[in-house]
C-alpha cells in the first residue's frame, strides 16, 4: 500500500512537490478494541504496529525515494544499505512507536534525508515530543515531516518543536495554512526553534 502526496508545505511557507513515496503497513484486520464501552482511538505507546510476517510481506518499491514504516526499516535495513547510501530511504514513525529505536538502528541518523512522524489524529500529541527528541537528543538535521492528520491550527507548535515539512491533510490549502506560522510574535519557553527562554533574551 502506498500513497503519493503531491504537495509539501515547508517551514518557510513555501510549497513544494513531493517526490517521496509514503509506504504504509496494511491496515490491521483486528476488530476495533473497546475500553469502558468507547472505541479505543489511539494505541498505547510501545505497542507493535504489525506482526513480523505482515512486515516481511510488504513490497518495497525498487526505485525512487521511499519513506518506510519503522518496523519495516528495523526488520530489513540490511537489504536496503545501498539505497540508504543513495539517499533514497527515509523512515516514518507512528505516534505509538518510540523514536529511540531509529537512532539506535543506524550509525548516522543523518544518512536519512527524511524522517516522518505520524499523527493518526491531530489531538494525539506524542509526535511533538518525538520531534523534540530527534532534533535535540539525536541531532537529526534532515527533513522532519509531519504526516497524517496535519492541520493548519497546529502549525505554529509543530514548527517550534522541530518539524520543517508538513504533509497537510488532503483538501487543505497549504498556502493559506502557512499564515499560521505567524500566529504569535514571541514565545516564552525554549524548544527546538528557540534554545533560549524569553527571560534570557529580553
Amino acid at each position: 500500500m502506498s500513497e503519493r502526496r503531491t504537495e509539501i508545505l515547508l517551514a518557510d511557507g513555501s510549497v513544494i512537490a513531493d517526490d517521496w513515496v509514503w509506504l504504509r503497513l496494511p491496515e490491521s484486520t483486528e476488530p476495533q478494541k473497546k475500553a469502558a464501552g468507547k472505541p479505543v482511538l489511539f494505541r498505547v505507546t510501545g505497542e507493535t504496529a504489525a506482526p513480523p510476517d505482515v512486515v516481511a510481506g510488504v513490497a518495497v518499491p525498487v526505485t525512487g525515494r521511499v519513506l518506510l514504516p519503522l518496523p519495516l526499516w528495523l526488520a530489513r535495513k540490511d537489504e536496503l544499505a545501498a539505497r540508504v547510501a543513495a539517499g533514497e530511504i527515509g523512515v516514518w514513525i507512528d505516534s505509538f512507536e518510540e523514536p529511540e529505536a531509529l537512532p539506535e538502528s543506524l550509525a548516522d541518523l543523518n544518512a536519512l534525508p527524511v524522517i516522518g512522524l505520524h499523527f493518526p489524529r491531530f489531538v494525539d500529541g506524542r509526535a511533538y515530543s518525538a520531534a523534540f527528541l530527534l532534533r535535540n537528543r539525536y541531532g537529526y538535521k534532515g527533513q522532519l515531516r509531519a504526516l497524517g492528520d496535519v492541520l493548519r491550527d497546529q502549525l505554529f507548535y509543530l514548527r517550534r518543536v522541530g518539524f520543517d515539512a508538513f504533509a497537510l491533510r488532503e483538501g487543505l490549502d497549504a498556502h493559506a495554512a502557512a499564515a499560521s506560522f505567524a500566529d504569535f510574535p514571541e514565545v516564552y519557553q525554549t524548544s527546538t526553534d528557540q534554545p533560549q527562554p524569553l527571560f534570557r533574551r529580553a
Binding site: 498505547v44 500529541g125 516564552y188
Partner: protein, 563 residues
C-alpha cells in the same frame, strides 16, 4: 500583582486575534466541529446546555479592581448579568454566544486577561494559596513561582495535546491551602536546613473518577530547576500517559501503574538531559518577577486594634463575622477579609454584575485595589486595616457578602452541576440550597464548628467532593439523579479522600442524610473535636448506621417498590 510587559501584551493580543480568525473559519465551514473543539477548549469554551460555557483565567486567583470591573461589564453586557467563581480560582460565564466571544477576548486582553488553557488537554491555570504574601505561616511567597510557571506553560508547543488535562498547584506556607496533594503536579516551596529555597514535588494526585493522593517524587530540588524538572515530568507523561482510554489518561494512572519510584526514575533519566540547560531559572528572572509581588504601602502605624476590640465586645454579630470571615495578617494592624459568596438561597460562588462593581470599589477603598479568589469560591480583600473592619462590615452587609459562615457547614463548595453543565449526572446547586436552608440557624452552625461540605454533579469532581469532610456526588442511575455521600475527606497537609458511606440517595433525602451525619457527630464529640476529627477517631460505621437506620437509600427504595 503581576503586570504585563510588552511581550506579554503582544502574546495575549495575538491569541485573541488567532481565535477570532479560528471562529470565523469555523462559522465559514472551513473548520469542522472536531477540529474546532480543542481550539475553543484551549480558549476556555465548552459547549454547554445553554450556550458555550466560557472560563476566564484568574492566574493563581489574583484580580485587580479594574479586572473585576471588566468582568462585571462582560456579565452585564454579554451574559445574563452574573458570573460563577470556580474551585480553580477562575470565573465562568454561561450565556455568551460563541459569535461574541472574540469581542469579549479583546476586552479581556485590554485588562491583561484571557481564557488561555482554561480547558482542554493542556497545562491549565496554575493555582495557589489565596493568602499568598500575607499569611502569617508563609515561608515563601508562591506568586512569583506561579507566574514563572504560567509563562512557561503558556503555549508550550510540546504540551498542548497531552493525553488529558494537567493541573499544577503551588504552596509556600506551612499549611497547604492549595491542595497540592490533589494535583497532577503539586509544588511546595520551603527553605532547607541551609536556608536555601527548595521544592518538594508531588506528582500523580488528582480527583475525578479515580481519586489519588499525589506521591512525592522529588524533595529538596533547588529552585533553579523548577522548569526543567517540570519539563521532564511533562515529557514522560506526554509520551507514556495512556491515550487508549480517556478515563485512564491522567498522569495519576501512569504514576500508579509504574509506581512512584519508577516514575521518578524515568523523570530523572529525562531530566538528566535538561538539568542546568537554558531553562534553568536565574536569580535575575526570579527578582524581575518577584518585584511585581512586593507588599503594598502599608501604614506603619495602622492601629485600630483597640477600637476593634471595643466594637467586637459590644456587637455580637460583628464579633461573629470577625471570628469567621476575618483572618490574621502578617502585617500588624491589617487583616484579610473573606467575602462570603455563600448566603442561603444563592448558588455558591455566583456574583452578579452589581456585586462585582461594588466589590471592585471596596477593593479600591479598603484593600489597595486588589482581591483574590479562593478555591472555596469566595472572594478575599487581603489588606484591610483593622480600624476599617467595622465600616467594611457595614458595606458588606448591605451587599449580602457578610454571611459569617466561612469554614462552616453552609460555606458549601459546589460545581454548577446539571443546571448548566452538560457533563453533569445530576444537579448540585439545588442540593446546596436545600442544605443551606436546613442549617440556616447561625447559633447551631457555630456550635457545629468547622465542617467542609463539597458537592460535585459528576465524577469530574469540580466540587472537590473527595476532599470534603462531607462529600456529595451526583450519580446517574438509569436516567435518574442520585447522590452518593462520603465522609472523612480533607484538604491540607493531611489531605485525605473521603469514604463512601453506602448506597446513594434521592435529592430530597440529602438534607436528612446530612442532618443524621451531624447528629451522629454531636452525639460522639468531645468539646474540642471537629466533625472530621470524630470521623477519623470512630471511622464511618456509627455515621453509616445512623443514616441508613433513618433514611431509605435508593437501593432500599427500589427494593420496597419491587415487593
Amino acid at each position: 500583582m503581576y503586570r504585563y510587559n510588552d511581550y506579554d501584551r503582544a502574546i495575549v493580543k495575538a491569541r485573541a486575534a488567532q481565535f477570532r480568525d479560528q471562529t470565523r473559519r469555523f462559522f465559514a465551514g472551513e473548520l469542522s466541529e472536531d477540529e474546532f473543539r480543542p481550539l475553543r477548549l484551549q480558549n476556555g469554551l465548552y459547549i454547554q446546555r445553554h450556550a458555550p460555557m466560557f472560563r476566564i483565567a484568574i492566574p493563581y486567583g489574583l484580580l485587580s479592581s479594574q479586572q473585576l470591573r471588566t468582568l462585571a461589564h462582560i456579565a452585564r453586557t454579554y451574559d445574563r448579568d452574573y458570573g460563577h467563581f470556580s474551585t480553580r480560582q477562575n470565573i465562568q460565564f454561561n450565556w455568551i454566544p460563541l459569535e461574541q466571544v472574540p469581542d469579549v477576548l479583546d476586552l479581556l486582553a485590554d485588562v491583561e486577561m484571557h481564557g488561555i488553557q482554561t480547558s482542554g488537554n493542556c497545562i491549565r491555570n496554575i493555582t495557589s494559596d489565596p493568602y499568598a504574601g500575607i499569611a502569617p505561616d508563609e515561608i515563601v511567597d508562591p506568586r512569583p513561582w506561579c507566574e514563572i510557571l504560567r509563562q512557561w506553560s503558556t503555549f508550550h508547543p510540546e504540551f498542548a495535546y497531552l493525553p488529558r488535562k494537567f493541573k499544577i498547584a503551588i504552596n509556600g506556607a506551612e499549611h497547604d491551602r492549595a491542595v497540592v496533594r490533589c494535583h497532577d503536579i503539586g509544588l511546595e516551596i520551603y527553605r532547607n536546613a541551609g536556608g536555601e529555597l527548595v521544592l518538594r514535588v508531588f506528582a500523580g494526585g488528582g480527583m475525578g473518577r479515580t481519586p489519588i493522593i499525589g506521591s512525592v517524587i522529588r524533595d529538596g530540588l533547588p529552585w533553579q530547576h523548577m522548569l526543567t524538572y517540570c519539563e521532564a515530568i511533562l515529557r514522560v507523561y506526554n509520551r507514556y500517559g495512556r491515550r487508549d482510554n480517556s478515563y485512564k489518561a491522567r498522569i495519576k494512572i501512569l504514576v500508579k501503574a509504574l509506581g512512584a519510584e519508577e516514575f521518578a526514575r524515568q523523570v530523572d533519566a529525562e531530566w538528566a538531559y535538561l538539568k542546568d540547560g537554558p531553562s534553568t531559572l536565574t536569580q535575575a528572572e526570579l527578582e524581575r518577577v518577584a518585584a511585581h509581588f512586593t507588599a503594598p504601602a502599608y501604614a506603619a502605624d495602622a492601629g485600630g486594634e483597640a477600637e476593634l476590640t471595643a466594637r467586637a465586645a459590644d456587637d455580637r454579630a460583628f464579633s461573629r463575622w470577625l471570628a469567621r470571615n476575618v483572618r490574621e495578617h502578617r502585617q500588624p494592624g491589617y487583616r484579610a477579609v473573606v467575602l462570603s459568596l455563600k448566603p442561603t438561597g444563592k448558588p455558591p460562588g455566583d456574583a452578579d454584575s452589581a456585586t462585582m462593581y461594588a466589590v471592585a470599589d471596596l477593593a479600591d477603598r479598603y484593600s489597595f485595589g486588589e482581591l483574590r479568589v479562593t478555591h472555596e469560591q469566595n472572594l478575599v480583600l487581603a489588606d484591610v486595616r483593622a480600624g476599617d473592619l467595622h465600616a467594611l462590615w457595614g458595606e458588606l452587609r448591605k451587599l449580602g457578602l457578610a454571611t459569617p459562615n466561612i469554614g462552616l457547614l453552609t460555606d458549601i463548595v459546589c460545581c454548577p452541576g446539571g443546571d448548566f453543565c452538560s457533563l453533569a449526572n445530576a444537579k448540585s446547586i439545588p442540593i446546596a440550597q436545600a442544605i443551606q436552608e436546613r442549617f440556616d440557624d447561625l447559633d447551631y452552625l457555630y456550635d457545629l464548628g468547622e465542617i467542609e461540605l463539597n458537592i460535585s454533579g459528576c465524577m469530574n469532581s469540580c466540587g472537590h467532593h473527595h476532599v470534603g469532610h462531607i462529600g456529595v456526588l451526583g450519580v446517574d442511575k438509569s436516567g435518574a439523579e442520585w447522590y452518593q455521600i462520603s465522609i472523612g475527606g480533607a484538604q491540607g497537609n493531611d489531605a485525605a479522600l473521603g469514604d463512601v458511606i453506602g448506597p446513594s440517595f434521592a435529592a430530597d433525602q440529602v438534607p436528612d442524610v446530612v442532618t443524621h451525619l451531624i447528629e451522629t457527630y454531636v452525639a460522639h464529640r468531645t468539646p474540642e473535636e471537629r466533625f472530621l476529627d470524630v470521623v477519623r477517631r470512630l471511622g464511618i460505621e456509627p455515621f453509616k448506621t445512623r443514616v441508613y437506620a433513618n433514611v431509605a437509600s435508593a437501593k432500599r427504595a427500589k427494593e420496597v417498590e419491587h415487593v
